[in-house]
């Protein structure tokens, strides 16, 4: 069943028109016996665009990437790059660069030999190979380590070698299969900006598979959210976050309050509580409210006109530096509220009576799942 967008705002589709992309997936399908791993996916990516495939494990994102690389045969649909149908072309003739989660460096070759491999396969002259290897090694800041073996490098360095090896051939499309999952948190953030910066500098079209929403939000021009082999939503990071098309997207991207209720026009009953939304709806619904969209004030404050307002008691307060998270019990419901810490702002301790307010437009309403 299709969910409807919670607002009637037309989402500005930043991507190319259907079938017009530099990379165009048309009805791409993968079936394993009775199991549909990827179900008729349509996606168009513009040249130079950075698109993330985001979803939980088993959602078909990696299978999609591997079909594009030619490592997994398709069960249906087409893969078109720059107007050329590559669906039946073997991987070594696809001219794509793939960066693996496990790096997949050649353990018996030096760093320089690893990076040179793709150029040797293209039978470039020795001089040019040497020059381009040096350039690629410099780009990932590994000068002086050309003669080491992969096992002698740290995980982050190995992943930079893998990046250089994929980039040096100037592939038509750069594919990333969860490349940062094996790195520790700090290194991961460094690598994010490094990959993004290099990709933008070279203007390479990139498809990036990840299950990490932060990675997808911070790196991508557009994000494709996948679930159970299907695309839930395609959009810019802010579209996905502010206007999630389905409850799945709302849950998967960012934190959210989730309630079930009954809609009558713009009014929704959540148990004993009545809240207002910006859209008309009737019947059973699922309601999502982003925790940072809810403002918290001392009980008794008079809310501005038109805002939703709920009174409750703070059950728990969690301070985490840049924001404070409150769990507030109100009329049998528990609200998660997040407030940015501003200077010496007061932090409401547990037990404080508070008023929660938010705009009707921030009440995201979805038809309840059957």
């Amino acid at each position: 069943m299709m969910h409807q967008a919670p607002t009637d705002m037309t989402v500005a589709a930043a991507g190319p028109r259907a079938g017009q992309g530099y990379l165009s997936l048309q009805g791409l399908t993968k079936r394993y016996h009775d199991f549909l791993a990827v179900e008729a996916i349509d996606l168009d990516v513009a040249q130079g665009e950075f698109v993330a495939l985001l979803g939980p494990s088993g959602c078909g994102k990696t299978t999609t990437l591997r079909m594009i690389a030619g490592l997994v045969p398709t069960s249906g649909g087409r893969i078109v790059v720059a107007g050329q149908d590559l669906t039946a072309v073997p991987p070594h003739k696809r001219d794509m660069g793939l960066v693996f989660q496990s790096y997949a460096l050649f353990p018996h070759m030096t760093i320089a030999q690893n990076v040179a491999f793709g150029l040797e396969m293209r039978r470039l002259p020795r001089m040019e190979i040497a020059a381009r290897v040096a350039e690629a090694v410099a780009m990932v800041r590994l000068e002086g380590r050309e003669d080491r073996r992969p096992a002698q490098l740290s995980g982050g360095q190995q992943q930079r070698v893998a990046l250089a090896r994929a980039l040096v051939v100037r592939p038509s499309i750069l594919l990333f299969d969860e490349p940062l999952s094996n790195l520790d948190a700090k290194l991961r953030e460094e690598m994010r900006s490094e990959i993004r910066e290099i990709q933008q500098r070279l203007g390479t079209t990139a498809l990036f598979v990840t299950h990490d929403q932060d990675e997808a939000l911070t790196m991508s021009d557009r994000i494709v959210v996948m679930s159970h082999g299907r695309i839930e939503q395609i959009g810019r990071p802010e579209d996905l976050y502010e206007r999630p098309a389905t409850p799945f997207v709302a849950r998967f991207v960012g934190r959210t309050n989730r309630f079930t209720g009954n809609a009558h026009g713009t009014t929704i009953r959540l148990g004993d509580l009545a809240v207002r939304a910006a859209t008309q709806r009737s019947g059973p619904v699922e309601v999502m409210i982003r925790p940072h969209r809810v403002a918290l004030a001392a009980a008794g404050c008079v809310p501005a006109d038109g805002l939703n307002s709920v009174t409750g008691i703070v059950r728990r307060t969690t301070y985490s530096g840049d924001f404070v998270q409150y769990l507030v019990d109100a009329d049998g419901l528990t609200f998660m509220v997040e407030e940015a810490t501003v200077g010496h702002g007061r932090i409401a301790p547990a037990g404080t009576a508070v008023t929660l307010t938010w705009a009707p437009a921030d009440t995201l309403v979805y038809e309840a799942a059957p």
Binding site: P90, H92, S102
Partner: protein, 293 residues
């Protein structure tokens, strides 16, 4: 904190703790090897320089006669060369026929892989004698191969037995399981992702094989070849039966000298020479392993 946790925290203590345990575990096998291997070899070395009368009885004195004989008689040099060459040919053939099987096994998964593994290893459950008789049934003048050839109109049977050809065919098949298992162990470090990476970088399948699969399986090739060579040069049942006394190799000569001629010192001398060949093969293996890193 438990003792195990403590030893994990401080590496130095762990070293002190682990070394004596490893040494203690080595004690039984060391004793067995002393009695079962080192002592007999020492005994052989002594025997090879013992003086004997023409009747074969030992005098209790010392003599370098057998070593001198082996060093000066071209027959023994030829014997050595024959054995080494035949074993090398068998090793090369075994590698050539086992490699595709090992690679296929490495790539297969699940029940099919287990079934194949059983099929590869099960010949080891049969004695080499039985398997050699099987080869006689196939290779003899009235065997399967020659019957087939005659049916196709050949006028004379092809000599496949009582010569080096038969010995080579028989030993190659008999030694294949060892080679396959060694190759499989070596292929364990071949990550399919690495092959995929090579393919996406523009390498067609045959170049992936030459540049990635083959170099990464070299340690397995070296180990399998060492095993096969050593087993080939020391086997005597198959050369004896398929060679029919017309194929002279070091191992069969040791048997003949010890059991037929009863010249124990000569048999001991030849045994020590086989041992020296092992040593050379092992040293070579070590060098190859170091050079492929």
């Amino acid at each position: 904190m438990t003792a195990a946790a403590i030893s994990k925290v401080s590496g130095r203590d762990a070293d002190f703790g682990a070394a004596p345990i490893a040494l203690m575990l080595l004690v039984p096998i060391t004793i067995v090897n002393l009695i079962g291997f080192v002592l007999p070899v020492a005994n052989l070395a002594i025997l090879s320089v013992s003086e004997v009368r023409s009747s074969g009885a030992m005098t209790g004195g010392w003599s370098m006669a057998k070593w001198l004989l082996v060093a000066t008689d071209p027959f023994y040099w030829e014997l050595l060369w024959n054995s080494v060459r035949t074993s090398l040919v068998i090793t090369a053939l075994t590698l050539a026929v086992s490699y595709p099987i090992a690679l296929y096994l490495h790539r297969s998964t699940g029940l099919w892989r287990n079934a194949l593994l059983v099929m590869v290893i099960s010949p080891l459950l049969l004695s080499a004698v039985v398997r050699t008789y099987g080869w006689i049934a196939i290779l003899s003048d009235q065997g399967l191969v020659n019957q087939g050839l005659m049916a196709l109109g050949a006028s004379e049977p092809v000599r496949l037995m009582f010569n080096l050809t038969g010995v080579t065919i028989g030993l190659t098949e008999i030694l294949m399981p060892y080679m396959i298992v060694a190759l499989l162990a070596g292929l364990g470090r071949l990550d399919p992702r690495v092959e995929e990476a090579a393919a996406t970088l523009g390498a067609p399948p045959w170049r992936v094989f030459v540049r990635i699969v083959l170099p990464l399986s070299l340690p397995g090739i070296a180990l399998g070849s060492l095993l096969t060579f050593v087993l080939a040069i020391s086997s005597f049942i198959t050369p004896k039966l398929l060679g029919g006394g017309r194929v002279f190799l070091l191992a069969t000569e040791v048997y003949d000298q010890a059991m037929v001629t009863l010249d124990w010192p000569l048999a001991a001398t030849l045994s020590i020479i086989v041992l020296l060949v092992f040593g050379v093969a092992l040293a070579l293996y070590g060098r190859i392993l170091r050079s492929i890193g």
